[in-house]
């Protein structure tokens, strides 16, 4: 069942189009991640669902009903902000109880105490209940702000980059905690981030947002392996997918200076029918550096990532990134050869950026 849906929603701020004819379905109990670069309209989308902004056109549906005329309170959504936004004069306990004390709910004092207690235990902040919020660490603050969201069991949790202000270690542990929490509550989450690792590791579904438009919605696997256009291909994945402008003619790919590759059967089946100018996409892990490789190159740069190394190869005026095992030794300007796994080639239309390959 669809919990929250956006139906051709647009929102402008002055001349700036934040959200452009956006449609989206989020199913009940789904962990949906909205991924996009800064300024793509992610936060605006959240605020439109929460009712903090009104759409210029289109509808917001909550539980299948048109929520356009509903007030923020009536929508029964919870919003976790990037900067926590804990009420500064209240203790942790008072912050957690605040949503329950709203006249919309009418909870008894016992029930409030019990719900606060449950949420605090779940998030392991029960020892902090009497503490003022300015005496908390970043991780604790964000836990409190998540706690404030879960106490009242809302229709949907909206999370606006909740982890981006935390340090790397904490972010990693909260990432799995949040995912656990979502499974435990069986709740619907809409999680906004610009961090593709968060998106890939937490999302049941990921929606890629670019310039106020949804470019692609899919499972993390689909997003990674079947990017629908050049933007998705370059935005998702670290390192980013190698993109090279090439010309395909007579079963051969050529990129001007130096790079000339004959297509194998695998490559031909991926790119057949797309003769002419196109953009070729290859993930770093599909570039194999070995002495039998068909392309000559020099080592331009080496990055050690611990579990592996990323080598930037220079051939002609093209730079290609390749993942190699951590134990391999390369020095800058070493002469090497490499080949591409042609079964994993991606082709994109040179002008529109749309994917020519699928699957």
């Amino acid at each position: 069942m669809t919990q929250v849906a956006l139906d051709h929603v647009s929102k402008k701020f002055g001349a700036n189009v934040a959200v452009n004819d956006l449609s989206l379905d989020i199913a009940d109990g789904e962990f949906f991640v909205l991924l996009g670069p800064t300024g793509a309209g992610k936060t605006t989308t959240l605020r439109l669902i929460a009712g903090l902004e009104k759409p210029d056109s289109g509808r917001v549906l909550i539980g299948g009903e048109d929520a356009s005329s509903w007030s923020v309170a009536e929508r029964d959504v919870a919003l976790v902000f990037q900067y926590y936004s804990l009420y500064p004069r209240y203790t942790v306990g008072e912050n957690l109880a605040f949503p329950l004390k709203s006249r919309v709910h009418n909870y008894s004092a016992d029930e409030i105490a019990q719900r606060v207690d449950t949420a605090a235990k779940l998030l392991r902040i029960d020892h902090l209940l009497d503490r003022k919020t300015d005496k908390l660490s970043g991780g604790e603050m964000q836990r409190v702000s998540i706690g404030r969201a879960i106490v009242r069991e809302p229709t949907i949790f909206l999370m606006d980059e909740p982890l981006s202000n935390l340090d790397a270690k904490l972010r990693e542990s909260l990432r799995s905690e949040l995912k656990d929490l979502q499974i435990k509550l069986g709740a619907t989450f809409l999680f906004v981030t610009h961090d593709q690792i968060e998106a890939m590791s937490m999302g049941d579904k990921v929606g890629i947002l670019h310039d106020g438009k949804i470019v692609q919605v899919g499972t993390p696997f689909e997003i990674y392996n079947q990017p629908r256009d050049r933007f998705v291909a370059s935005f998702v994945g670290s390192p980013a997918m190698n993109l090279v402008d090439v010309t395909l003619a007579d079963g051969k790919l050529s990129a001007g200076s130096g790079l000339d590759v004959a297509l194998t059967d695998a490559g031909r089946s991926r790119l057949s029918g797309h003769e002419g100018a196109l953009t070729l996409g290859v993930r770093a892990e599909d570039v194999a550096v070995d002495s039998e490789g068909v392309i000559e190159a020099r080592v331009h740069h080496v990055e050690n990532h611990g579990v592996e190394k990323i080598v930037t190869l220079r051939t002609g005026d093209q730079l290609i990134k390749a993942t190699v095992p951590a134990i391999s030794q390369y020095a800058i300007e070493d002469s090497v050869r490499f080949s591409i796994n042609q079964a994993k080639l991606h082709g994109f239309d040179r002008t529109t950026g749309t994917a020519l390959t699928s699957g």
Partner: protein, 318 residues
Amino acid sequence: MAAVTTRAERIGHPIAIVAIIVVTLIFLAPILWITSTAFKPRAVATSVPPTVIFQPEVTPFVKLFTKRVQLREQPTQEVYDAAPWWEQAIFDNGERVLRVRGNVQPSQYGNRFINSLIVAGLSTILAVGMGTFTAYGFSRFKIAGRDDLLFFILSTRMLPPIVVAIPMFLMYRTFSLTDTHIGLIILYTAFNLSFAVWLMKGFMDEIPKEYEEAALVDGYTRMQAFFKIVLPEATTGIAATAVFSFIIAWNEYAFALILTNRRAQTAPPFIPSQIGSGVVDWTAIAAGTFLFLLPVAIFTFLLRNHLLRGVTFGAIRK
């Protein structure tokens, strides 16, 4: 670097301390002068050079608060003993308290002082209250022509008030507002409102709007969010604005002089008006001035914590 700070580091450089003491003395000198004069015997009040050491007296305050008449002859021992202690103090000045059917006749000072409290207090509450709401509106909502409106509000302060004194007087007379409390309250509220709006807008802008949005999402109305979240956060700004508004209203002289004369007259025009009646008794005037200084000092002292934070972290810093 040593973890322990030296004594000099903690209390500051000696030259700085000397400079601070000198400046403080310069600023405090008039206040010390008027305060000491308020307790001086009349004989030494205007002596040159000023008398610094003297026996403090309450005589000036007795004169300030009562109506008196000149004694024709020295009071007899009987009369002297029958008089209360505070009246005995003025016998030496050749005066006695005026009594009507045995009741001591008070001077107008008490009334004028209360008038000042009413007018300054109410106009401050009104200006700060309306200013807070207005500033919140300007800070949070899209208002057509917002910048022009804000400039217009500020522009009401650009005119020297005395320029409009005559038209104001005529308007007040037409509407029978002369010599009324409400008249002065309206005027002072109008004076302070533009100032309060600007000052409060700065403070409101610094309160993150996410707090209210969180409260809205948590099931509260905009009004509830304002009272529960925004207002407590704005106390610093409200305190600072209130102190400034109160000082302006409390000290206002020109319009109080023009628009009031009896019933609603405030202390500022009243205190110098005593100079005109007979011999100038500077001690009584000093006593009146001294008491007049107190409310602002007390008000500022009570709000000092908020005020300091307000001045350092609020709108005025920018």
